[in-house]
């Protein structure tokens, strides 16, 4: 799961990035509206945490641009502006959620989980397939009721595949989802993680679509 954080305050931006990384998100952090616009054009994110008072381009303008392009990316506005009118303006500009500073890291994480879940069209908070259950709130994975030890990256990959159950995920999509900027790794690491997942969850849990990508569940 890759998230874009747009926050001009160095201390807070650093904190949000660290906090989301703790929850195994791949986090890109930009500090002005212009950089946010470019990042949103160039990359596929699962969610965006957006501050409003930004240098170069206001957060609301960034959001309106995004929606004008028809991009349905879940956006959570995180701002110090706390009046009802501010919230209405933000939500009406296309935001999916609104959180005011100061906030709880746990709440930000929970809201992001909910946003990502809704964007994927799932109703239950759990992802479930073939006896494997993934709980995004605790980041625990069980297979037939038995807990499965799983690393951060493996979890992130599994979460992506399960939330897009029955849908093809290309290699590029999965790599985008796994790595933030500056985290580019060798080309075969994705295969290594898939291999680990198959070992832990069963060889046919993840199917390979040769030359294109991977899928959990049936071809639909």
């Amino acid at each position: 799961m890759r998230v874009l954080v747009v926050e001009d305050d160095a201390l807070l931006g650093d904190g949000i990035r660290a906090g989301l990384k703790l929850a195994d998100y791949a986090v890109d952090w930009v500090r002005d509206g212009e950089a946010a616009r470019l990042a949103l054009l160039d990359h596929q994110y699962h969610a965006c945490v957006l501050d409003l008072g930004l240098p170069k381009k206001d957060g609301l303008a960034v959001l309106k641009d995004l929606r004008a392009r028809g991009d349905a990316l879940p956006v959570l506005i995180l701002t110090a502006r706390d009046t009802s009118a501010d919230k209405v303006t933000g939500l009406d500009a296309g935001a999916d959620d609104y959180l005011t500073k100061p906030f709880d890291l746990a709440e930000l994480q929970a809201r992001l989980r909910a946003l990502i879940r809704r964007a994927a069209g799932t109703t239950t908070p759990f992802c479930e397939h073939a006896g494997v259950v993934l709980d995004p709130a605790t980041r625990r994975v069980t297979r037939d009721g038995q807990p499965v030890a799983i690393s951060g990256r493996e979890y992130a990959l599994l979460h992506d595949l399960m939330i897009h159950k029955n849908r093809l995920r290309t290699r590029a999509q999965l790599e985008e989802s796994l790595y933030a900027w500056g985290e580019e790794t060798e080309s075969n690491t994705l295969e290594v993680y898939i291999h680990h997942l198959r070992k832990k969850l069963g060889a046919d849990f993840v199917s390979t679509v040769r030359g294109v990508g991977y899928r959990v569940g049936d071809d639909s």
């Binding site: 305050d9 201390l11 650093d14 904190g15 660290a18 906090g19 110090a80 890291l105």
Partner: protein, 462 residues
């Protein structure tokens, strides 16, 4: 103590008017009565003198005509009937005598007035009583008649006449005073209404008072009040906006503190924990600085003029500030240059506040320039007017943003460095208090300069 009490109670306009009008009315009334009494005295005197003259002539004629029967005259007069003696009737006494001094006859209670006095009217005292007398004599001078009546009866008469005239007015005095009281009350009602309008206002209601309905005498007061309300309104608006902005600005560092602390608690990686805790400290320092700047502005805001200005040397202020900032500049890999004249640049002001201003300007310059930049702090005279300036050779500020720089919490669209946007607002306020103006501009050839320019020429050093 009584004095203090009296001083503490404000004078009542209504009571004052009432007192003055009542006193004037009573005084006028008293004066009218006194004048009436005086006039009555004169009138009564004339009347009585006339009666005395008539009586004296009659007596003299009678005496001349028949000296023989004179002895019977008093008895005859006393026996006359037909009417009771009226109150105003004169108690006339008389004596008739020869020019030699021998008394021919006298009324029963005639006073023993001297007989050798001159002719005509006289006021004489005899036997403890004041008398008014008239002496006439026959043409041959053989007989004289003296008629007299006590002055007391005349005074009594005059008093009676005057009292009769004054009594109705005296009776009218109380209703008149009541009328005055109600008139004054009614006349001052617009003032009471105005006072009530002000008194029953809630503190939030700072709308102007209705000037059209106020009496003309109160117009200037109402207008002055309205001007004051206007200023108060503006000040309150400013305050509200500032408080809201300040609360808003505090949220971000607080949010950062909270997130970093939560990460320190949540992570199992000791390196990440250390980083998060260090960030908590940085955040606490930033919040502290923000609060300090806010407090400084809040303290400077209500001041109209410097409380305790003294002679100081701007070169000294520049030097002290540059010294203080020296290590910070070195740590940021920037050069701090000091340019001051040898002669002192004397102004009157607060060296601490000016120091704060220069430090803020230096902090800004250090914050918004790349490593290796040079920051120049200078003091001196420009066209004979004192000047304090901080300039750098950094990237400068976009021209369209120059005029917003001194606005509170303004940080600039390109700003990537940490700042709370209050520094220049404080410098601006300090400049205002010193009768100087803050000028910000991009320097030709790159860089940004902020200058405090005094409006007045340099003051001679002591």
């Amino acid at each position: 103590m009584a004095d203090a009490l009296r001083r503490r109670r404000p004078a009542s306009l209504r009571r004052r008017i009432l007192r003055l009008v009542t006193l004037s009315t009573i005084l006028t009334f008293g004066l009218a009565t006194a004048l009436g009494y005086r006039q009555a005295l004169v009138d009564v005197q004339e009347l009585m003198d006339g009666q005395m003259a008539e009586t004296a002539r009659l007596l003299l004629a009678q005496a001349q005509h028949s000296t023989n029967h004179l002895t019977d005259l008093p008895a005859d007069m006393a026996s006359m009937r037909g009417t009771k003696a009226r109150r105003g009737e004169l108690a006339l006494e008389f004596q008739i005598f020869r020019s030699g001094g021998s008394v021919l006859m006298r009324s029963a209670r005639a006073p023993a007035l001297p007989l050798d006095g001159g002719l005509g009217y006289a006021d004489v005292a005899e036997g403890g009583t004041d008398w008014r007398s008239l002496t006439l004599e026959t043409a041959d001078g053989a007989l004289r008649v003296q008629v007299a009546h006590p002055a007391r009866s005349r005074d009594k008469e005059a008093l009676e006449i005057a009292s009769n005239a004054a009594l109705p007015s005296a009776l009218l005095l109380p209703p008149m005073l009541a009328l005055i009281y109600f008139s004054v009350r009614r006349g001052l009602k617009p003032l009471d209404d105005l006072a009530a309008d002000v008194a029953f206002r809630s503190p939030e209601n700072l709308a102007a008072l209705p000037a059209e309905t106020a009496p003309r005498e109160a117009q200037s007061l109402v207008k002055a009040l309205n001007r004051l309300l206007d200023r108060l309104n503006a000040a309150l608006d400013n305050e509200r906006r500032f408080t809201a902005d300040a609360a808003h600005e505090l949220r971000t560092p607080l949010a950062a503190l909270k997130v970093q602390a939560q990460i320190a608690l949540a992570t199992r990686d000791p390196q990440q924990q250390g980083h998060a805790l260090a960030q908590v400290l940085v955040g606490a320092d930033r919040a502290t600085r923000l609060v300090e700047q806010l407090l400084r502005l809040a303290r400077l805001d209500p001041i109209v003029r410097l409380p305790d200005p003294r002679q100081l040397d701007l070169a000294e202020v520049a030097r002290a500030s540059a010294d203080e900032a020296g290590s910070a500049a070195a740590a940021a890999d920037k050069t701090l240059r000091l340019v001051v004249p040898e002669k002192p640049v004397a102004v009157s002001g607060d060296p601490d506040l000016l120091g704060v201003a220069v430090r803020n300007l230096i902090d800004n310059a250090l914050r918004y320039t790349p490593p290796g930049a040079t920051v120049t702090v200078s003091a001196g005279l420009e066209h004979g007017k004192p000047l304090l300036a901080v300039a750098d050779d950094g990237p400068g500020v976009p021209t369209e943003e120059l005029h917003c720089l001194a606005e509170r919490f303004y940080r600039g669209r390109e700003a990537s460095a940490e700042g709370n946007g209050l520094g220049l607002a404080i410098v601006h306020r300090v400049a205002e208090l010193h009768g100087a103006r803050l000028e910000v501009e991009n320097v030709e050839g790159g860089g940004f300069a902020a200058r405090l320019l005094w409006a007045q020429g340099a003051e001679a050093p002591d």
